[in-house]
């Protein structure tokens, strides 16, 4: 994989949390959440991350988006180590890496009009200027009408709200989008709408997409490369369909075995 030119990369990241003492004079224990993790994404590429809960997916995204500083290892954006770089490079990084969360009903403020919510990142990232044109641009990109700007979140369905959350993430013109379970709170019939949108954005805007989900087929559909994380280590990386049809690591096999499909259910082989 030497020809990859990652836009955002984690190199040998290790993160451990200390545990409370078990006895008054015992040394505090520690729990390694991430253990020498290498993970990266290129422009115009969608990469997936799968693993059981507690495997370290959330901590990985927190470090990848700069919300947490790794205890050892580097986070490289566009060739510079963000934790060693100056404030200008750090500000650039913060604008360029945006997140989409699982549940838009809780990630959007119910008392804030959509237009105001979309302007929030510009305010908090201190991006100057007139953003009205940008507002209409991002709404168009996610396939929503400009009339949405004046409305409140409760007036939208789950699928529309997730589009709004994606629009908000797109406002500062990011180069990488990190989406943590972006469709698991949505109904099956509209999941596809959001997945197709994310795929289009990767292609049209040359975005890097980090896609985290528990549903393996959703990951296989959305991404072209997937990493399997288990107990804080990346155990396998590869093309998703190939990886999930012929898993080699036991942890991947575990995940694959847990998948239920309509077909396996009907044939009585599921349970």
């Amino acid at each position: 994989m030497s020809d990859r030119r990652p836009l955002l990369a984690m190199q040998q990241v290790t993160q451990a949390y200390s545990l409370p003492r078990t006895a008054l004079f015992s040394p505090p224990g520690s729990f390694t959440v991430l253990d020498s993790i290498d993970f990266d994404v290129c422009a115009g590429e969608a990469v997936g991350l799968v693993g059981e809960s507690g495997a370290g997916k959330t901590t990985l995204t927190r470090i990848l988006t700069g919300m947490e500083r790794p205890q050892s290892g580097q986070v490289m954006f566009d060739g510079t180590d963000i934790w060693a770089a100056g404030p200008a490079a750090r500000a650039n990084f913060r604008r360029s890496v945006q997140m989409v969360l699982q549940n838009p009903r809780s990630s959007l403020d119910p008392r804030m009009r959509v237009g105001t919510a979309l302007l929030e990142p510009m305010r908090s990232l201190r991006i100057e200027g007139d953003h009205v044109k940008r507002l209409h641009e991002v709404l168009d990109q996610v396939g929503l009408d400009s009339s949405a700007l004046e409305r409140f979140p409760h007036e939208f369905s789950g699928g529309q709200l997730q589009r709004i959350a994606i629009a908000r993430a797109l406002m500062p013109n990011p180069r990488v989008l990190v989406a943590d379970e972006p469709v698991s709170a949505l109904d099956v019939s509209i999941q596809a709408q959001v997945l197709n949108l994310l795929k289009d954005l990767v292609r049209d805007l040359n975005l890097g997409l980090v896609f985290i989900a528990h549903d393996l087929s959703v990951v296989a559909y959305t991404t072209s490369r997937v990493s399997v994380i288990a107990a804080g280590r990346i155990v396998e990386v590869g093309q998703p369909v190939e990886l999930f049809t012929r898993p080699s690591a036991p942890q991947t096999k575990n995940l694959v075995d847990a998948v239920l499909t309509v077909e396996s259910g009907l044939s009585g082989a599921a349970l």
């Binding site: 109904d187 393996l216 296989a220 239920l260 309509v262 077909e263 259910g265 009907l266």
Partner: protein, 325 residues
């Protein structure tokens, strides 16, 4: 079969003031049978379950007939219902975190159910509770029984919930999204347990979920709900292999599976256009018509009833294909 069904629902309507979330639903689950009720959020499936249990939120009213154990549950008093809940009919809720009592040991919570509904001592109830925990494959049951809910994992909590639901050998267990809050790897274990335990006791199972694969794995019959009505009803094998309603077809098509994904990433997932209509603004005629590829003027004007082919549709899937061809 001479035995009465575990539950028989006739023209159930559940509403709040003049807004109906469930608009005339009929189905029956035979004794020891297993039915799936599938639908998206807002389809009325959870309200149907709550009406069956007599647990509707205040202000909500149920009308129609829910026949179970020789009585119509809809007309029963709260007191009569509460002596029934957990005994002849019980429920497993979606989120074990919020449905277990956080300040009571889990073993005591199971024993409570047994103690309440059967004539046994506390000590015997506790013995049975631990026995149930063994059946649920819970590790070190004696020790675990003394834990509080926050000390055990989500999968373990859901197994405690299932143990509570099974405790009194109910005729019917209603499971509302029992595995949605669990990790995928745990989901299968829990389903397997629920499957085996209900079969062993010959309890009927009503499985409520949006997850089609779960229904396919667990149930014999399925009812597909949309906007408060059953739009398709029949044996799982028939409905899922050969759906007649365009909504069922759409739901099945929007399931991503490994087989329909192209390796070069060019595949597109099918989605049902539009969204589930809010109760206040239900479309006229067939509520699905604005999202339906086969909708005609008749669909906009008249509401179809469930037909002999199991679908409530004027232009069922097989028939329209014949017209187009």
């Amino acid at each position: 079969m001479t035995t009465a069904p575990a539950i028989e629902v006739k023209n159930l309507i559940v509403g709040y003031e003049d807004l109906n979330a469930v608009r005339g639903v009929s189905f029956s689950v035979p004794a020891g049978g297993r039915m799936g009720l599938v639908g998206e959020s807002g389809s009325g499936k959870s309200m149907t379950a709550l009406a069956l249990m007599g647990l509707l939120p205040s202000g909500w009213q149920a009308r129609g007939e829910v026949l179970h154990d020789g009585v119509n549950l809809v007309t029963q008093s709260d007191k009569a219902l509460s002596s029934r809940r957990g005994k002849t009919i019980s429920m497993v809720f979606q989120d074990p975190m919020s449905s277990l009592n956080p300040v009571r040991r889990v073993g005591d919570q199971i024993a409570d159910v047994i103690h309440r509904h059967s004539d046994v001592s506390r000590r015997e109830a506790m013995r049975q509770a631990i026995d149930l925990m063994v059946q649920m494959n819970l590790p070190r049951p004696e020790q675990l029984a003394r834990s509080y809910p926050h000390q055990i994992s989500g999968g373990q909590k859901q197994r405690i919930m299932i143990a509570m639901a099974l405790a009194c050998y109910p005729q019917l267990i209603i499971a509302d999204e029992p595995t949605t809050a669990l990790d995928v790897t745990v989901q299968k274990q829990v389903l397997r347990l629920l499957n085996a335990a209900t079969r062993e006791r010959n309890s009927a199972l009503l499985m409520i979920t949006h997850d089609l694969p779960v229904i396919a794995a667990m149930c014999d019959t399925v009812a597909v709900m949309y906007a408060g009505r059953i739009v398709e009803y029949g044996p799982v094998q028939e409905v899922f292999r050969n759906p007649r309603h365009h909504y069922t077809r759409g739901l099945l098509d929007s399931q991503p599976t490994m087989d329909n994904i192209a390796l070069d990433g060019t595949s597109r997932l099918v989605s049902i256009p539009g969204m589930v209509p809010p109760l206040q603004r239900l479309p006229s005629g067939c509520a699905f018509h604005p999202r339906c590829p086969a909708a005609t003027d008749k669909c906009r004007a008249e509401m179809p009833e469930l037909a002999a082919n199991g679908a409530a549709c004027w232009h069922p899937v097989g028939a329209t294909a014949a017209v187009e061809a």
